[in-house]
């Protein structure tokens, strides 16, 4: 492990050095109609980076593009060169945990390895950033994550006013930061301790068994009521850092046609409909049940850990204020009332 401490100016210089050899993605403000959205993109200018709040979207689009053309060059942006590796700067604990979920599904599950994901991921270095304060809707610590630091990123940034500690945990990357002034370990430790104390406990506490009991919760009668106001717009899945459902599309005719891979959403009514017209998830409740159960039952049964990281973006983005914390509370109450105390497969 190596600890460095640098000023903003020195970081800018480091950025300019790194960008010669790496693609760099970081959260920047982008005009989206009347709104400015903080999202990850490939950049050329250090000063564009916004460090001090949780980005509106996760870096999912960097490691798993929203649209890609199969068998063709991956076009990130003008600041992306396919021959270079990518450093994603400023990724928070929640989003780092989400990358872990993707890695489990697309790389570590040896029943099928997604080569295009693996290639991109192999060439990605995540520079995490420690959260300084809680956003209104986030609850990662309620799910057992540590907002101050995640072990899953090889390099971590701790921003202290205008100074930055850089902690290099994977010695593979020590060369990149070697020339920087040394940071004091005790000082960093003190900063982390102070952060932890300031980080007020989440008002949301969750007491559900995970994996959620598959059959019992599937048959629970809470889902339709829970989703009465849902519009089925799918925005929760698009902003979700762990949602990875996708679909293929074709363009052009005959053997020359192109196949695209695009994000999809299990919240769409047409998502699981058969050619015959039969739809196994023919109501909003059934679709939302699949979303919640995938994150809190099916993923933990098939892999390890939850497929929800408590980032709260689905809560922020939902046009009708459907709140996953309330859904989980209803689940908790249902299990309490119905006496379900077994977790996992029943």
């Amino acid at each position: 492990m190596m600890i460095k401490k640098i000023s903003k100016e020195r970081f800018k210089k480091l950025f300019d050095e790194l960008k010669e050899e790496y693609n760099i993605a970081a959260p920047i403000l982008k005009d989206k109609g009347k709104e400015k959205i903080l999202e990850y993109d490939f950049i050329n200018d250090f000063d564009q980076i916004v460090w001090d709040r949780q980005p509106d979207s996760s870096p999912k689009n960097i490691i798993f593009p929203q649209n890609s053309m199969l068998g063709n060059d991956y076009k990130g942006s003008k600041y992306y060169d396919d021959n270079l590796s990518t450093i994603i700067m400023g990724v928070r604990s929640c989003d780092i945990e989400a990358v872990k979920v993707f890695d489990q599904v697309f790389i570590e599950d040896d029943s099928y390895i997604d080569d295009s994901y693996k290639n991109r991921r192999d060439k990605t270095i995540i520079m995490g950033i420690s959260c300084a304060e809680r956003e209104d809707s986030c609850f990662c610590d309620s799910l057992g994550l540590d907002p101050i630091e995640s072990d899953y990123a090889p390099v971590y940034i701790f921003k202290d006013e205008d100074e930055f500690f850089i902690k290099i945990k994977d010695e593979k990357y020590e060369d990149l930061f070697e020339d920087l002034p040394k940071g004091d370990q005790a000082q960093l430790k003190a900063l982390k301790k102070q952060r932890k104390e300031e980080f007020n406990e989440s008002s949301f506490s969750l007491d559900i068994p995970t994996p959620l009991p598959e059959k019992e919760m599937f048959e629970a009668d809470i889902w339709e009521e829970m989703t009465e106001k849902c519009l089925g717009c799918g925005v929760c899945t698009y902003y979700c850092p762990t949602c990875y459902c996708f679909n293929f599309f074709w363009e052009g005719e005959d053997g020359e046609s192109t196949k695209y891979k695009s994000w999809d959403s299990c919240m769409f009514s047409s998502y699981s409909v058969h050619a015959s017209g039969h739809n196994p998830r023919d109501s909003k409740g059934k679709r939302y049940r699949n979303r919640i159960m995938h994150k809190f039952s099916y993923h933990p049964l098939n892999y390890e850990g939850l497929a929800c990281v408590g980032c709260g973006r689905c809560i922020d983005r939902c046009p009708v204020n459907l709140d996953i914390r309330e859904a989980l509370k209803m689940t908790e109450e249902y299990l309490l009332e119905e006496g379900g105390d077994e977790s996992g497969k029943d």
């Binding site: 199969l70 396919d82 099928y112 996708f246 293929f248 074709w250 058969h274 050619a275 699949n290 039952s297």
Partner: protein, 284 residues
């Protein structure tokens, strides 16, 4: 220029024969295919019960279970009922046209553990397609000796809706093999069974032989009644085997579409025992 490595792009296969199966109602055709590439053709292996993702270029992709046996080395077949976009586009193709295929995917029928057993096949309509892959496999002269008595009950809506007529003579003439056919309603000129398959099990099939395994595929309502009847007759749910259908995109358990609880039909299925289905949420 780097190319994104992926096996999600289909390989080219040529339609070498199209057979119109159903008669007045022309909605089921069987497509005989082979890879354009010779080495692909020679190296291709699959199991009955597995499926391929079939692409009509520019239109889309959909899963189809093999209807032919892997003992046929020169080609593979799918039977396609015209119901949606991709199937309609397939029905409009002609011999010599090129389509895309990728796979095989899925677990397939249990071949080894079925050896030494008596087998009953109960199929309905297009559901006979995946069974035919296994039927033709077990009845193949190389394999027939591995299995005991084989009984088939093929159910069709009407004589006009029968499938695989060219196989019947072979099936019926294979030793220790009995083949029954039924249609929904009595019909002039039809001298075989009449009625839904679950009503015929007791009379027409010798289900009491020890070590019997039942394979059943067909419309969901038929599966429901047939499996209920079989359980009522005391057949072990672990010996009742069926296949499930779901909408799919990737075929490898990733795209998220075909899950039933934490099982993915494409990867953990499409072949399941009734015992397994009993443990799964009722989402199909």
């Amino acid at each position: 220029m780097k190319v994104e490595k992926t096996d999600m792009l289909p390989q080219k296969a040529e339609i070498i024969e199209i057979k119109q199966e159903t008669k007045t109602n022309l909605n089921i055709k069987t497509f005989r295919l082979r890879f354009k590439d010779r080495s692909q053709r020679d190296n291709f292996q699959f199991k009955p019960g597995q499926f391929m993702m079939v692409t009509v270029f520019g239109v889309g992709e959909a899963p189809f279970g093999f209807a032919s046996s892997p003992t046929e080395k020169e080609y593979f077949e799918f039977s396609v009922k015209e119901v949606g976009l991709v199937t309609e586009a397939l029905h409009n193709l002609k011999e010599g046209d090129i389509i895309g295929v990728r796979g095989p995917y899925g677990n397939g029928f249990p071949l080894e553990s079925t050896e030494g057993k008596n087998i009953i096949f109960i199929g309905g309509g297009i559901g006979i397609a995946p069974l035919r892959s296994l039927i033709n496999y077990v009845l193949d002269e190389e394999n027939r000796h591995k299995y005991k008595k084989i009984q088939l009950l093929n159910a069709f809506r009407s004589p006009e809706d029968t499938l695989y007529c060219d196989d019947y003579e072979w099936w019926e003439n294979t030793e220790n093999t009995e083949v029954k056919y039924t249609i929904d309603e009595p019909c002039e000129g039809w001298s075989k069974c009449v009625g839904f398959p679950h009503t015929l099990i007791v009379e027409e099939l010798n289900y009491e032989l020890p070590d019997t395994r039942v394979f059943t595929c067909g419309p969901p309502i038929m599966i429901k009644f047939v499996t209920e009847k079989l359980r009522e007759l005391g057949i072990d749910p672990a010996e009742i085997i069926t296949t499930l259908e779901m909408r799919m995109s990737c075929g490898v358990g990733k795209c998220g579409r075909c899950n039933i609880g934490h099982y993915y039909v494409c990867k953990d299925g499409p072949v399941f025992t009734l015992e397994q289905l009993g443990e799964m949420p009722d989402e199909y």
